[in-house]
Symmetry: C2
Subunit: 549 residues, 2 copies
Amino acid sequence: MPEANPPQPLTPLVRPVPVRADGPSLEDNTADLDRLRNAIQGQLPDARPLEIPFCRIVPLSRLFRRAGFAGVALVNDLPGRWVLADFVAALPLTLPAMALDLGTTHLEANLVDLLTGRVMASAAAENSQIPYGADILSRIHHATSARRQMREVEPSYVDPGLLTLQQSIIACINGLAAKLAVAGGTDAGALRALSVSGNTAMVHFLLGLDPFHICREPYIPMVNMIEPMEGRELGLNLHPAAPVWIMPSIGSYFGGDLISGILASGLAQSEEVRMLIDVGTNAEVVLGNKEWLIACAGAAGPALEGGVARMGMRAAPGAIESVAIDPETYAIAVHTIEGAPARGICGSGLIDLVAALYLAGMVDIRGKFKDPGREKDPARAAFMGERLVTRGEQRAFKVVAASDAGAVHDVLLEQIDLDAMIRSKAAMYAILSTLISQVGLNFTDLAEICVAGAFGNHIKPQSAITLGMLPDLDPSVYRAIGNSSLQGAQAVLLARSSRQECLDVVSKITYIELNVNQEFMIQFSGSRFIPHTDGSLFPSVPRLAEGKE
Amino acid sequence: MPEANPPQPLTPLVRPVPVRADGPSLEDNTADLDRLRNAIQGQLPDARPLEIPFCRIVPLSRLFRRAGFAGVALVNDLPGRWVLADFVAALPLTLPAMALDLGTTHLEANLVDLLTGRVMASAAAENSQIPYGADILSRIHHATSARRQMREVEPSYVDPGLLTLQQSIIACINGLAAKLAVAGGTDAGALRALSVSGNTAMVHFLLGLDPFHICREPYIPMVNMIEPMEGRELGLNLHPAAPVWIMPSIGSYFGGDLISGILASGLAQSEEVRMLIDVGTNAEVVLGNKEWLIACAGAAGPALEGGVARMGMRAAPGAIESVAIDPETYAIAVHTIEGAPARGICGSGLIDLVAALYLAGMVDIRGKFKDPGREKDPARAAFMGERLVTRGEQRAFKVVAASDAGAVHDVLLEQIDLDAMIRSKAAMYAILSTLISQVGLNFTDLAEICVAGAFGNHIKPQSAITLGMLPDLDPSVYRAIGNSSLQGAQAVLLARSSRQECLDVVSKITYIELNVNQEFMIQFSGSRFIPHTDGSLFPSVPRLAEGKE
């Protein structure tokens, strides 16, 4: 566990500043806005300049005068400056703001009260850009369709495809904001701030930034470190002066969602060395402590996220999330999320399944289904005969039959899915090994491995260890931290220290490009076996498999 | 003369910053905009934060990349921050910007090269708001027509009358910018900055700020100290990232044009005590040196500016600007501006005329035309008989007859004009006396009196002294400084020290409200005679008048 911090007063992104000034007179003819500025400056905790956006001069002057020159200024606490956003005669009971996890497939959001830190409501929505491309690469393709045909692009050119993606996601966020507002008993125009945590490409789509170079070597985003803008600049239906805090990214394949993960895991505050693993479209891994941080990302995800296997699906109701095979009877026990009728298998279920099949002796160390005809154990032979079917020229394992209670259809694990799964788990272990060896440490030096997201919530560490996907450590070393992207977004709404941590992390982190890393390729080869070509790395696995071979 | 400053390198409002960075690679995947930001930050002379406006991210990233990651960044040098405005592959030959004197009746502007300080072109235009009100008060009336009928005004409410005034003046400035651009061989979209020097109400009209309280006791502007905004926020056709620097004001009746005057006169840099007099609609006066500044304003102007006398007119071609009456022959010599046929009389001509009439013994110390019937000197009696006519029940002096060479019509000085003139000159002297006595000094302590504007260019100090309008000092103490409003606007475009001086002056200056000042009323009474009830204040006048009474 990260060190517990003592409770601190909230230092929200929008800070209420009580203000009281004498009214104007012939002896004191200070202008209304100057009077307000002077009164606020005396109350701010530091000497950062106080900016007043031009378009706010008229309403702020009038609000201050109408309130009798006393009330509460709402001041945005931004890097290097304060920005005066609003003035109210009296502080409202809540000061709602929205924290957003801007995922490639799903958006999740919390309505948070900036005065207390309380979560007032939660909501989620499917990413409305999916019709334009299920994955990031196809969306980048869509967002650069016209631009790619042009020899030269004008500095302010906007590709119609990019505009479509931007408008789509803005509408989606506005919808979420409206939903949150209703649930929180307010309206979207009262939302005082928005923080957004998403991968680099999603942030480009949201902000209308050209993603052209993101997917072309050497993979350069237009910008990683983005100063907060106002919601109205994006067409967001929030309070007109609401700041939008975009979590910074590190590179094209290491986005603000990971910075959020670092915040949520406490990695950059930790005395001991910890690791953070986030499996999405890519596997993204961070290693470090309060002194140093090193990170990399690689294509390990799809099979694990349920995006590749034919029966794969996201961790959602009806997804098989865990599988057990009795070592004596070969009875198979399958659990679906929320106990719903089985529709497919999610990443954690897949890992459980393959680990169980390996331990039950039905999959060999290369990740291939064994030949039932060569099986000597009669019980196992019977089980294999019942469950192993042929699809085309390949074997497949029937996890659930359509005839089983409530199953929608057969759920099969085909050899091709198994192969993809092995590549993914090999990539994952290679990533982790490469990273730890870069800093001259061993896995046993790790105080904790945080696993983010739905994957982290559902995965059984021992199954992943059995496959050789995660290092062979005591399962208690692994900690599921949930939706850390959303948690990080929420943290920056509430704490100046978290906002500062964002900026510190970006300047502190070292990013390793795996595409040009020799060691990664070597590690990857050895990892393509269950659990590994070097069995000494996984001492716990033979003990589990004992007596089953 | 103010101390000469040693020549300094220009520190313009928009600063060119040469930038060179390595291109991106797999080893250095810094995003384009972050690469640009990093490269600029290393070249800036101080640690103020560098802001990049959200809407400039796309064009700046593309321009930097297209230029091969080397070129010149154009960075706006603003209070408390740098703002990245543009990036060019190579520095252009000139970097044009516009300095504007936003007068109530006329606009004058210079096109200035920010690289060299050279004036590339000049232009002027009549203030397009005149159809909505000849003077400031009637324009404020127009700008608050609808608002005044409403019980309560919404914070963001805009009066249609104010909007009309704003749009009118924006169009007028855009026209001037286009004219300057043509004259300077460029186009308005290439203008990199605008500085505006105008009175407080004109600035409110330009920015769409509610002027409602400006003309109501205690005379409070909406704002005096205005942070620079971008031209596009106002609808100005300049470069999209051009900063607009508004000279700050001190109060409703002490505007940014006076701050410009302080800059142009060198008052706030002076070791010795100096005075600045600016006669416009009001007389505005500043007294001080590098240590302290005190200022006031009062309604002394109209008669002096040519706005009240029936034959009064601005200092323009055809305006009588000087008058002499031969003490022996009473021959009258009249000069018009540019020698054009006489059409009226401007402020300096009026002062000359009344001083000459007084010295010639035709106007008494109360400022009344004498009775020709009581005149004993036959030459003077003949002259008076020829020139003094009756209009209604009042006498009038025929300065120029329609029969005179080229005169358009009779130009008459009526008693009513003379009375207004005496009130104005009395107000002026009372303002100056009140101000100097506030700080315990005498006029003889002044190293210099700077007289701004067309009034300063045309006035003969001795005539004003004869009338008792200006203190009886050696005429060499007076210095005409021309259009100091425009000069100040130009100074802030070119020098950081001038921009800083604006802010320093505002925080340093003490403004005296004459409406509540007892001493002013006493001084005013004594000043309603020519030259004054206390003749010892004007020793030079009896010497001039010697032998003429």
